[in-house]
Symmetry: C2
Subunit: 430 residues, 2 copies
């Protein structure tokens, strides 16, 4: 399959023609290609911005089930009265439907890959395989008993089985990471066992880190003054490439530690505001060389899986928090959502529009009313564009969404399935 | 014209039929209306949320010209190198085109009315008249010379002429407010003269108030310790109903003063973050009984005219800033964007879906992928919905936008005009 994106405004490159052949970007050129007979498709991009597909680097896809279920509540009541009881009722079927739905929502908004942490993850893998997206998926280990025998821990064993069954499936589009949920839901024993498997098998690691102030402070009390980042380092969690979600309360020296260990901070600005956690110190992290990626968190705490929204919020929130409108260039935030996202997932062949890279490409409608005028495409992408402006999403050279049509899922059936799943789910839950 | 909105999910009322007759909401009922022969149109709303049209209570419509023009710069360089020189070149034609464009963008996103402060305001009035929206428009007075003779001030005189020509035009859809730009751009003399005209003619007042810390502190130095709010009160600015934009640095006692005088605070969360100003203390204001409305500010500092975005950001930002996810119910933020907006503009006959009120109605697509599942329409409206989900915007019973079509503007011509205006504008500016 050869596709020509003709006369596109390519982010940071100007007007170009982009040739996709099979899974790859084959050529990016200025010259007008007048003979188009060798192409299976020519896509007119005269009013389109062509940019890399987006990465959602911290989410719980199946939590689309709980979008808008219980809001405006204090965190502990929300968790104990709403989310935990609801999660008790998860079935393979509901996780599959909700994960597939999450994939469709992400594809619609230009996301080509996500980093997920949840349970019943085989169902999420099936959904990803079905849709043609990419994902790094992990089953989070929790262990509340310090003396738990980790060789028989069902969570860690699920995690290992998941790895054996799904790692590198779908031509590498699916990767399985290891995960410990967080310091406050684990102990040295469970963290060391999980890290050991990760090191042995060369997987990535996905954790929650210093999301709330109380979590951060309680950890220090429990661990002779060590912060969650220090605790995780000491357990070997950062001996493999890791993504640490939230990082709202990491200290300056935690940041230096993250930089030294190459740990990516997954910034979830909407979720951190909505759950009353606080504001991650983006500027300080950038100054200290920490790699930042963006995440939506689950739909229960966002409530959408929209990386355009997070990119915009991350950019303006950092200016607001530092009282510095100069601050970082808009491209810094595009980088978080693209190049850095791919790097954090261990994908070296994508995340950027370059010859020889995988064709993970989105088109953004520059004729959308909020995108006129355009003085600089980068400002348009970060400050004006919305997920709804995405007119095409391509992953590994395959078009997954175009102009209202989903090419890999039956969206009308899926919406109907999702509505029924949610309705029945909470009937059983009452 | 009789229109039936059939089987709509009406915000806070449940499934209803809504009958619009002429300019008014005539009937809201449960019973199925089987005989639809008396209606000119029946709109199937089975997958729609019906809610009041939104109010954008602080903007500079014509600044769509400068959307994305100069970004990521310190505030003073942005103003002095970019915005002020660009504004020197404003013409009637460019203000008209950019205002009309702003109206179209607002209508697309469910906004029925806005509160504007700028110059060459007659052009903005013409644009509003053309589109069928509502607006409170003001020409901001600035006076840097304390001894300026206000009877010959061209800005105040423009303001008075505007009032005479346009106040209550278009069946009251257009109202002219008086405006002093801010304390730091005025003096007691100019404020008193503007207030006097407002009192005499019963207009509303629109000002900028305590947007930045330096503005707030400098005012106190200049005025024997008086805050901008105290200064404005002493000049009589709050002797008429007033809207004060930003209010990031108002003190607790300023809030009490605003409550006592019935001054609405126009909260512009995106602009305040993006310009590095800070975060308005929403919760404290609500506690002290200050009426809050929402604004986008101009497109140069936002960069979109999207009240769904501001409603969402206002809600999550307050939770984040107070570290309290419980905080205020989502409806509090819908109220800011609807009921309060109408009240701040002195419009007592709209802003709410009730029999006998003006038919300012929008439909939000509940079949949009980010709006499924829906457990509570209010949460959907605030936390999930986007401006792009608006499928119909009606103002005073007249449909201005429906399913991609603009009924009062030629949108393709307008986009083309806007692109040309912006291209030529900056050619001349270089």
């Amino acid at each position: 399959m050869r596709i020509l994106f003709k006369n596109a405004e390519v982010l940071r490159k100007g007007r170009k023609n982009v040739v996709v052949e099979g899974e790859y970007i084959r050529k990016i050129c200025d010259t007008d290609i007048s003979d188009t007979s060798g192409f299976d498709r020519v896509i007119d991009c005269s009013k389109k911005l062509l940019m890399p597909g987006l990465y959602n680097c911290h989410t719980h896809a199946a939590m689309t089930l709980f979008r808008g279920y219980g809001e405006d509540m204090p965190l502990d009541r929300w968790l104990h009265e709403k989310i935990f009881p609801a999660e008790e009722l998860l079935t393979n079927e509901s996780v599959y439907t909700a994960s597939l739905y999450a994939c469709a929502e992400m594809i619609r908004g230009g996301i080509v890959s996500f980093t997920d942490m949840y349970e019943k993850c085989g169902e999420t893998c099936k959904a990803v395989a079905m849709t043609g997206m990419k994902a790094n998926i992990s089953r989070s280990v929790l262990s509340f008993d310090k003396k738990e025998d980790m060789s028989t821990s069902f969570r860690l064993n699920e995690s290992k089985s998941l790895f054996r069954e799904w790692h590198n499936a779908e031509h590498g589009r699916i990767k399985i990471d290891m995960s410990v949920h967080a310091e406050y839901t684990n102990n040295e024993n469970s963290c060391r066992a999980t890290a050991a498997f990760a090191v042995e098998n060369g997987t990535h690691m996905h954790i929650h880190l210093s999301e709330t102030q109380s979590e951060h402070e309680e950890c220090k009390k429990r661990n002779n003054g060590r912060t969650p980042a220090e605790f995780m380092r000491d357990c070997g969690i950062f001996d493999v490439p890791a993504t640490a979600a939230h990082c709202v309360y990491v200290t300056d020296s935690d940041m230096d530690l993250m930089h030294e260990k190459g740990v990516f901070a997954a910034h979830n600005p909407t979720s951190n505001l909505k759950l009353g956690s606080g504001i991650m110190r983006t500027s300080e992290m950038l100054k200290r060389g920490v790699g930042i990626v963006l995440g939506t968190d689950g739909a229960a705490s966002n409530n959408t899986l929209n990386i355009f929204k997070e990119m915009h919020l991350a950019a303006v929130l950092d200016k607001g928090a530092t009282r510095d409108p100069g601050g970082h260039n808009a491209y810094e935030f595009v980088r978080m959502a693209t190049e850095n996202g791919a790097a954090s997932q261990g994908r070296t062949d994508c995340g950027i529009i370059e010859e020889g890279k995988k064709a993970d490409i989105i088109l953004v409608d520059l004729d959308s009313i909020n995108n006129i005028p355009m003085y600089d495409p980068c400002y348009t992408a970060v400050y004006s564009a919305s997920a709804g402006d995405v007119s095409l999403t391509m992953c590994d050279g395959r078009i997954l969404y175009e102009n209202g049509e989903f090419l890999t899922v039956d969206i009308e059936k899926l919406k109907s399935d999702m509505r029924h799943t949610c309705e029945n789910y909470f009937k059983e839950n009452k």
